[in-house]
């Protein structure tokens, strides 16, 4: 019996279907070579997957580091196959009871391992995850409540799309099962586009039942704005930077005052690297939802390593850039709509008069828009142009509404609703469409949620969220006028597509969905902290169940208030509420003592 046969025999004991499938698979994914120490090693496209000198020693070092944050009771899910040295090293460090799962994106790669390395003595401990990513996510989410991911980067990178699809699918399953309540501190910007997204994020988190502390820095905008009166540019910039630093410390003070489970910073939140380092020192989990184009605003480079989690609205290039800059965990999270705001509305005659049009565009005056929208003038339909930053509009002046004033959310909903054909053209500083255009703007979701029909320029990520039954998609700038002509007079088709897009957004693309996904990702990667809360493992009932092994603890735990979330300060406050003459039990005194020391750990600043 050769090594492959022996390995297949071993695999058959736990996973006979996998053993059978491997018989029909071709290997050759890995180029197997011999390392300096004589052990097999591997390359793919001339990149080393394992050390060319001593793959085993390298794997041991990797495993030591990988298990650092692993907690008892967690299943360890390994991303990356290679020649499995790293997995074998994990089995040597972890107890036999630890469940080690290995994601196998390509059976050919696994066959390559079976050809050169024996699984005997350690392979029995492994559970192999293979097959369709969606099915796999179903099975994993049902079978394991606490999962810790470990990435073997050189081999994980070989199958990134599959790994990402699996993780997103798993996140969705986990998100849908969330029950526990978190305390999230949302740190907003002083001003800017991400401020309106913050306005949607806060109610979305609350709608999910989480407690939200909104650290709203927009109230400081007048002070910030006032600094623009300083004529010396250098001085002005210095003062604005100092102003931001101060607001960072103000954020810390709020966080210290009522420590949250998670700090969610929105793009342009004034959290500098020293503030983020202080939060990490105090063991506070931080996430940033960067709802900006990473190519336009580049300050993320300075704080990439400061956050535990990054969420971005663009994919590959953005994720790569952030990872390269030191970000630990970067996840794609597109923008969305808020159905409480973005909805179909009816209005009076006057409003119809002002906002009604055959064709409208709402947005800032970027060069590509200035050029393309001119083609909509002097047509046999009416055209209105809304938004700010349209200085020197040229021929577009005849279409520009309200003298180029900034349009608020409420008004934009009225414009969307009263327009037959809404043009949604992504910003670009050149001519035509942005050749690197990937992420989709919030207006796409907002228009759809309003039940408004839209024509949109193509984006690489658009097809992940919408199709042509919902939106009219332009492949090239020259198609704009003919597409308008096609739809502007076809009410039925417009309304059908608009309604389809609205239903689709309500089902999949609201801020509530986004917050579910965001927290699901954080919970998935912080299984023992955020994950435990989200699973409801910190409820009183769960605590009672956990105390079964220590019967003397059950009266103590039973005495805690029955709620979703048992927090020390709440329990202590209940005890203190008994009044100055209360006679306290030993357990109550212990809880108050712990709370005394908890308050000390709040010393953030």
């Amino acid at each position: 019996m050769n090594i492959v046969q022996k390995n297949l025999k071993l695999l058959r004991v736990h996973d006979p279907i996998l053993a059978d499938r491997l018989k029909d698979v071709n290997g050759g994914v890995l180029k197997v070579l011999t390392a300096k120490n004589g052990m097999p090693t591997a390359q793919v496209h001339q990149q080393w997957i394992h050390s060319a000198y001593d793959p085993w020693k390298e794997a041991q070092a990797w495993a030591e580091h990988a298990v650092h944050e692993h907690r008892s009771g967690e299943a360890l899910l390994t991303i990356g196959v290679g020649l499995l040295y790293h997995v074998e090293a994990l089995t040597q460090i972890l107890s036999k009871e630890t469940q080690i799962l290995v994601l196998v994106p390509d059976l050919g790669e696994l066959l390559d391992v079976l050809t050169v390395r024996s699984l005997a003595g350690w392979g029995e401990q492994i559970q192999w995850l293979w097959g369709d990513a969606e099915d796999l996510a179903d099975r994993v989410s049902q079978a394991y409540s606490r999962i810790r991911f470990v990435h073997h980067a050189p081999s994980a990178v070989l199958h990134e799309p599959y790994v990402r699809a699996f993780q997103y699918a798993l996140r969705e399953r986990v998100s849908s099962k969330q029950g526990g309540k978190l305390h999230v501190a949302v740190v907003g910007p002083i001003y800017g586009g991400s401020l309106s997204v913050t306005n949607h994020v806060v109610p979305a988190l609350e709608a999910l039942g989480h407690r939200v502390t909104w650290i709203d820095h927009s109230i400081h905008y007048p002070g910030y704005k006032n600094l623009e009166r300083l004529r010396d540019q250098q001085l002005r910039m210095t003062m604005q930077s100092k102003f931001g630093d101060t607001l960072g410390v103000v954020s810390l003070a709020h966080i210290a005052d009522d420590p949250p489970d998670l700090v969610l910073a929105m793009a342009q939140a004034p959290l500098s690297m020293p503030v983020l380092e202080q939060l990490r020192k105090k063991n506070v989990v931080t996430a940033m939802w960067f709802v900006e184009n990473f190519r336009h605003l580049t300050y993320w480079q300075q704080v990439a390593s400061g956050y535990d989690f990054w969420f971005v609205m663009q994919q590959e290039a953005c994720i790569d850039a952030l990872t390269h800059a030191g970000a630990r965990q970067v996840t794609y999270l597109p923008l969305a709509a808020n159905p409480a705001i973005h909805k179909p509305v009816t209005s009076c005659l006057e409003e119809h008069e002002e906002f009604g049009a055959d064709v409208s565009f709402l947005g800032a005056g970027y060069p590509n828009r200035r050029q393309l929208l001119q083609t909509l003038l002097n047509q046999d339909w009416s055209f209105k142009l809304w938004g700010n930053e349209w200085e020197n509009p040229g021929p577009l002046a005849v279409a520009l509404q309200r003298n180029g004033a900034r349009i608020d959310s409420e008004t934009s909903v009225k414009i969307f609703n009263h327009t037959k054909v809404n043009i949604n053209l992504h910003s670009f500083t050149g001519h035509g469409f942005d050749p690197d255009g990937d992420g989709i703007n919030p207006r796409t979701f907002e228009l759809a949620a309003c039940g408004a029909f839209q024509i949109i320029d193509t984006r690489t990520l658009l097809s992940q969220h919408f199709d042509e039954t919902m939106l009219a998609i332009l492949q090239k700038p020259e198609d704009l006028v003919p597409t308008i002509q096609r739809y502007v007079y076809d009410t039925d088709e417009r309304q059908g597509m608009a309604e389809a897009s609205r239903q689709h957004v309500l089902a999949h693309h609201t801020y509530v969905h986004r917050m579910e996904a965001l927290l699901g990702t954080v919970g998935l990667h912080m299984s023992d902290r955020i994950g435990e809360v989200l699973r409801g493992d910190r409820s009183t009932d769960a605590l009672v169940a956990k105390s079964k092994g220590n019967p003397e603890l059950i009266p103590m735990v039973n005495a805690l208030p029955h709620s979703d979330r048992v927090e020390l300060q709440d329990v202590a406050a209940n005890i203190r509420a008994k009044g100055p003459t209360a006679v306290l039990s030993r357990d109550e005194l212990l809880i108050l003592m712990m709370d005394e020391y908890r308050q000390e750990t709040r010393d953030f600043i």
Binding site: N283, D528, R529, R538, L543, K546, S547, N550, L553, M556, V557, L560, V566, L568, R576, K578, G579, P580, T581, A582, V583, L584, R586, D587, L589, L590, I591, L592, M593, M594, D595, E596, Y597, R598, E600, T601
Partner: protein, 436 residues
């Protein structure tokens, strides 16, 4: 026979000022067994206390860890907390004497004992405090003309009178650190200088120490100096030694950061004098039987925390005439006169910072136990002890204790219904400064 527990979770100075109350409790209740709960880093000092059966450490670090665990594993945190108290025989005391007015000490008192004296005696959640604790709160907030020493107030809290004799630490570690045997082997006056201070506001400038060492070593050719302090003060002593001319260096030894607290107590007990401003090591010197010269400034006041027992000296910083003028301009003549009337010479909220130092005078005092003149900005006090505890008499002045202050205060505070207006009046405070 029952077991009683003394709880003192504060710093070194407070722990050492607990010695008198322990001595007094032993005098008053010779048949009761007495244990001590103190901060873990000070356990080695507590172990040298006479009259204590057992000593338990209070480990703040462990409690911080337990509190942190709550957010991770609540049932384990409760289990660990219960376990901690179990290890320290919680609930086994008939009475706890709590000397700290702090929620942790109040909670610990109730965890350990069925009855509590001191803060928390009306229940762990009650803000009501016993008379002596309230008195200390008034002293802390308004200072006034207080003449009751903190160590004696501890006795009052515990329901006993001050001890009849001055308690000393047991000798624990008799070994000298490497290189110090030569300091102790020759004849001559041995002086330990406490160079630094845990409170930066109470640190004596290096320039003063430089001058003091030169003056002393010139005036006393047989004299030798030992620099003492914690590891954090090593840089300070290095900086000081850099300033001293090499001709003196053979008569200066540096033990900074090289000793445990019991070792330091042993070293100090072999010195003739301990001089400095940091009250913790000064009290350690007192409890080791050595004479003290303390420089009290900033918010340190001789009557509250001066060296306990007879024969010690304290230089108390006072306002100079220029500081007086400044104070008068800011607070008005009335306040100044009222302070003077009540014998309150340094009741300045932000504390007094000396403009000059009594270098010649303190060296003269050390060598002759006399002082020809007291420089402006300072007063000199000699410590005494009587049935009402520690008290201090101003040198070469008729400034005796005003009108039997301590006896009256003990009578008032030990009474059933305290007239707090009378307490304030005796302290020289206006009635409006009541702490309700």
């Amino acid at each position: 026979m029952s077991h009683r527990l003394v709880i003192q979770l504060a710093r070194l100075g407070d722990l050492l000022q607990t010695l008198p109350v322990i001595a007094s409790l032993r005098e008053w209740y010779p048949d009761e067994e007495l244990d001590l709960l103190c901060a873990k880093p000070l356990i080695s000092v507590g172990s040298c206390f006479p009259g204590i059966r057992q000593i338990f450490p209070w480990d703040g670090e462990e409690w911080r860890g337990i509190a942190k665990d709550w957010s991770q594993k609540k049932e384990m945190a409760l289990f660990q907390a219960a376990n901690y108290i179990q290890r320290c025989q919680a609930g086994s005391y008939s009475l706890a004497y709590n000397l700290n007015n702090h929620p942790r000490a109040m909670l610990a008192s109730h965890l350990y004992a069925s009855e509590v004296m001191g803060s928390g005696c009306y229940g762990p959640l009650s803000s009501r405090v016993p008379n002596w604790v309230k008195y200390l709160q008034i002293v802390g907030a308004h200072r006034g003309g207080n003449r009751v020493h903190l160590a004696d107030a501890f006795c009052g809290i515990c329901g006993v009178r001050p001890p009849t004799s001055i308690p000393m630490l047991k000798r624990a570690d008799r070994k000298f650190p490497m290189g110090l045997s030569s300091f102790f082997s020759a004849n001559g006056i041995r002086v330990a200088l406490v160079i630094g201070s845990g409170d930066a506001d109470r640190r004596i400038p290096l320039q003063m120490w430089d001058e003091w060492i030169r003056t002393f070593l010139t005036a006393c050719p047989e004299g030798r100096i030992l620099l003492v302090g914690g590891a954090g003060e090593r840089e300070l002593t290095h900086a000081l030694l850099d300033r001293i001319p090499s001709l003196y260096l053979g008569r200066i030894w540096d033990a900074c950061g090289q000793t445990s607290l019991p070792q330091l107590a042993n070293i100090l007990s072999h010195c003739d004098w301990v001089i400095g401003s940091d009250t913790g090591p000064l009290h350690l010197g007192v409890a080791s039987g050595v004479k003290i010269q303390g420089f009290y400034f900033s918010r340190a006041r001789v009557h509250e925390t001066g060296p306990y027992g007879p024969g010690h000296w304290v230089w108390q910083a006072e306002m100079t005439s220029s500081q007086n003028e400044k104070y008068k301009a800011q607070n008005g003549q009335d306040r100044l006169e009222q302070n003077a009337k009540c014998n309150i010479q340094n009741n300045v909220e932000e504390g007094i910072h000396p403009e000059s130092w009594p270098v010649q005078e303190s060296v003269e005092l050390l060598l002759t136990e006399t002082c020809a003149s007291i420089p402006e900005g300072w007063s000199l006090w000699e410590s005494h002890h009587d049935e009402w505890g520690a008290h201090f008499v101003q040198y070469a002045e008729s400034n005796r204790e005003p009108g039997g202050y301590r006896e009256q205060m003990w009578d008032m505070l030990n009474g059933r219904n305290v007239n707090w207006d009378s307490v304030h009046e005796l302290m020289g405070l206006s009635v409006s400064s009541h702490v309700s």
